[in-house]
C-alpha cells in the first residue's frame, strides 16, 4: 500500500516536471526571448508533428531510421554474442584477446566513419557497418563477461551428464549469461539510434536524421523540433520495449532476490 503510494507520488512528480518544462518552453517562445526562426513553441512543434504524420512524410522517415537501427543492432547482436561466446568460454582466448579488445573498445566510432566511407562509399552498407561496429561493443563485452562468470559447478553437472558441447552452450552457458547479454543489448540500442542518425546525416540516407538536417538548413524550426522530439520518443520507446522483453525473459530472476 505504502509502496504504491510512493510510486504514484514519483510519477506525479515527474509528470509535473515535464509539464512545467513544456510550459516554460511555451512561455519563452511566446515572449520571443529566442527568435521563432530558431525556437518554435511546443504548439508549433506539435502542429508540425501532426502535419508530418497525416501527410505520411514523418512515417516514412521514422520507418527509415527504425530500419537502419534495427538492421545494425541485429547484426551487432548476432556477431557480438557469437564472438563474445567464443572468447568468454575459453580462458586462453580471454587472456590473449582481451588486451586487443581493450585497445579497440575506447576507439571512438567517429574515427571509423571516414574509413567506412572510404571503403564502402556513402551507402546503406556503410551505415550498416558503422552502426553495427558501434553497437557491437556493449553486447560483446557483456557476453564475454557473462560466459566467463558461468558457475563452474554447472559445467561439472553438464560433464557428469555427458552433455554435448552444443547442449552445454545452449542449455547452460547462454541462459546463464542471458542477463548480461540482454543488458548489453539494451545499451547498444541507444548507440544504434545515435549512429543511425549520424549516418543518415552524413550519407543523406532516408530517415529522421536526414529530415532534421534538411529542416535545419531550410530554417523550418518547427519541423526540426518535430524530428528531434520523434527521435527522443523512439529512443525512449525502444528502450522501454527492451526492458519489458528483459523482464519477461528473465522472470526466473525475480524470485532470486
Amino acid at each position: 500500500m505504502n509502496r504504491h503510494a510512493t510510486i504514484w507520488l514519483w510519477r506525479a512528480a515527474s509528470f509535473a516536471v515535464a509539464a512545467s518544462f513544456i510550459a516554460l518552453w511555451q512561455l519563452i517562445a511566446n515572449l520571443k526571448l529566442v527568435s521563432p526562426v530558431f525556437l518554435p513553441g511546443p504548439d508549433r512543434a506539435w502542429a508540425s508533428l501532426v502535419r508530418g504524420f497525416s501527410n505520411g512524410d514523418l512515417w516514412s522517415k521514422l520507418a527509415g531510421t527504425l530500419e537502419h537501427m534495427a538492421y545494425g543492432w541485429l547484426a551487432a547482436s548476432i556477431a557480438g554474442i557469437a564472438i563474445g561466446a567464443i572468447i568468454g568460454s575459453s580462458r586462453i582466448m580471454r587472456t590473449y584477446v582481451a588486451p586487443s579488445l581493450e585497445f579497440l573498445r575506447p576507439l571512438p566510432v567517429s574515427a571509423i566513419i571516414p574509413v567506412a566511407i572510404a571503403m564502402l562509399g556513402l551507402t546503406q552498407a556503410m551505415a550498416l557497418f558503422v552502426i553495427a561496429f558501434g553497437a557491437i561493443w556493449p553486447i560483446m563485452l557483456a557476453t564475454i563477461h557473462g560466459f566467463a562468470a558461468v558457475e563452474p559447478r554447472l559445467y561439472e553437472v553438464a560433464r557428469s551428464l555427458q552433455m554435448s558441447r552444443l547442449a552445454v552452450i545452449f542449455k547452460v552457458a547462454l541462459p546463464s549469461a542471458s542477463p548480461d547479454i540482454l543488458a548489453g543489448m539494451r545499451l547498444s540500442l541507444t548507440v544504434a539510434l545515435i549512429l543511425s542518425v549520424v549516418c543518415e546525416i552524413l550519407a543523406g540516407l532516408d530517415g529522421l536524421g536526414h529530415w532534421v538536417l534538411l529542416s535545419a538548413r531550410a530554417f523550418r524550426s518547427a519541423d526540426l523540433f518535430a524530428g528531434v522530439i520523434l527521435l527522443g520518443v523512439t529512443g525512449y520507446v525502444t528502450s522501454v520495449a527492451m526492458s519489458m522483453a528483459e523482464h519477461r525473459l528473465l522472470a526466473w530472476q525475480a524470485s532470486q532476490r
Binding site: 559447478r153 560433464r159 557428469s160 551428464l161 542471458s178
Partner: protein
C-alpha cells in the same frame, strides 16, 4: 604391464568391485592431496567417508566421479578405466544452490538429465512427475530453485541425479547445510531410495553418527596427504531406524571407535 599387475585383484568367490581405486595418488598445484589410496566399493554397497576438514574427502569423490584424473594409479568403474565422467555415476554436490539451473523450474532441472539421456520429450513429463514424487516434491514442479527451501533444493538435486538412473550415487556432505530435523528425514529417504534402486553409494559426511547410521562400511581418512586411516564394517540390521539403530550397542561401539580416531587425527 606393470600397471596391470597392480590392478585390483579379483578374488575368486568375491564379486569385482564396481569402483576400484588402485594406488591412486593425486597432485594439485604441486601439492599431494591424495596418496596411494586403494579402495574397492562393491555394487550395491553403501560406503561412508569421514575425516577432518581438508583431508581430501571431496577430492576422493571427484576422482570417483571422473572429474579428476589421478596423477598416478588408476580408478576403474565396472572393470573399465575411468577416463571421463559418465552418466551412470551421479554426483550430489554439497552446494545445491550452485548445482541447480536457476532459470529452470524444478521440472526443468530434472528434465536436464532426461534430455541428456536422450529420452523423447513426450515421455519426459510423466517421468519428471514420478521422480519429483519420489523425492517428496509433488506439486512443486513449476517452482524455481530460488523459491524453494534448502531441503527442497537438495531433494531436487537428488531427483535430477536419480533421473540419470545411476549405478553409483556420489554424495558430498549432501545434508551438511540442513537443519537436524530435515537431515534425519532425508537420511531415511535416501536409504529407502537406495534400497529401491540398488545403487552403489559413496557418501561423504563429517557427521560420524550419520556415517554409521547410513553405511555398510565407514572409512576415515587421514590428512596431509589424504589416505585411509580406519575402516569399519557396520553390522547393524536394516532397515535402520532413527531411534533403535542409534541406541544399538554396536552403534555406540562404532561411534566411540570413530570418535577416538577423529580426535587423534585432529591433534
Amino acid at each position: 604391464m606393470a600397471n596391470a599387475a597392480k590392478r585390483f585383484e579379483v578374488i575368486p568367490g568375491q564379486p569385482r568391485p564396481q569402483i576400484a581405486f588402485t594406488e591412486v595418488t593425486l597432485q594439485l598445484g604441486g601439492k599431494t592431496i591424495i596418496e596411494n589410496l586403494s579402495l574397492g566399493v562393491r555394487a550395491g554397497e553403501f560406503l561412508c567417508v569421514v575425516g577432518a576438514s581438508g583431508c581430501g574427502k571431496t577430492t576422493a569423490l571427484r576422482l570417483a566421479a571422473g572429474l579428476y584424473q589421478p596423477t598416478s594409479g588408476r580408478v576403474d568403474f565396472d572393470g573399465q578405466l575411468m577416463l571421463h565422467p559418465r552418466r551412470e555415476i551421479a554426483i550430489v554436490f554439497q552446494d545445491y544452490g550452485k548445482a541447480l539451473l536457476p532459470w529452470r523450474t524444478a521440472a526443468g532441472n530434472v528434465s536436464l538429465a532426461l534430455e541428456a539421456g536422450g529420452m523423447p520429450s513426450a515421455e519426459r513429463p510423466a517421468r519428471i512427475e514420478e521422480l519429483l514424487r519420489t523425492v517428496g516434491l509433488p506439486g512443486h514442479a513449476g517452482k524455481y530453485p530460488a523459491e524453494m527451501s534448502g531441503g527442497m533444493q537438495q531433494r531436487l538435486q537428488i531427483a535430477r541425479c536419480l533421473a540419470q538412473e545411476p549405478k553409483t550415487l556420489l554424495m558430498d556432505e549432501p545434508f551438511g547445510a540442513l537443519d537436524a530435523m530435515t537431515r534425519q528425514g532425508l537420511q531415511d529417504e535416501v536409504l529407502a531410495l537406495v534400497a529401491a534402486s540398488g545403487a552403489t553409494v559413496i557418501f561423504v559426511t563429517h557427521d560420524l553418527d550419520e556415517a554409521i547410521y547410513l553405511g555398510d562400511r565407514v572409512i576415515g581418512l587421514l590428512p596431509h596427504p589424504g589416505r585411509i586411516g580406519i575402516e569399519l564394517a557396520v553390522n547393524l540390521p536394516r532397515p535402520r531406524d532413527q531411534l533403535s539403530t542409534r541406541e544399538h550397542p554396536e552403534f555406540l561401539r562404532l561411534r566411540r571407535q570413530l570418535f577416538d580416531f577423529i580426535k587423534a587425527t585432529e591433534q
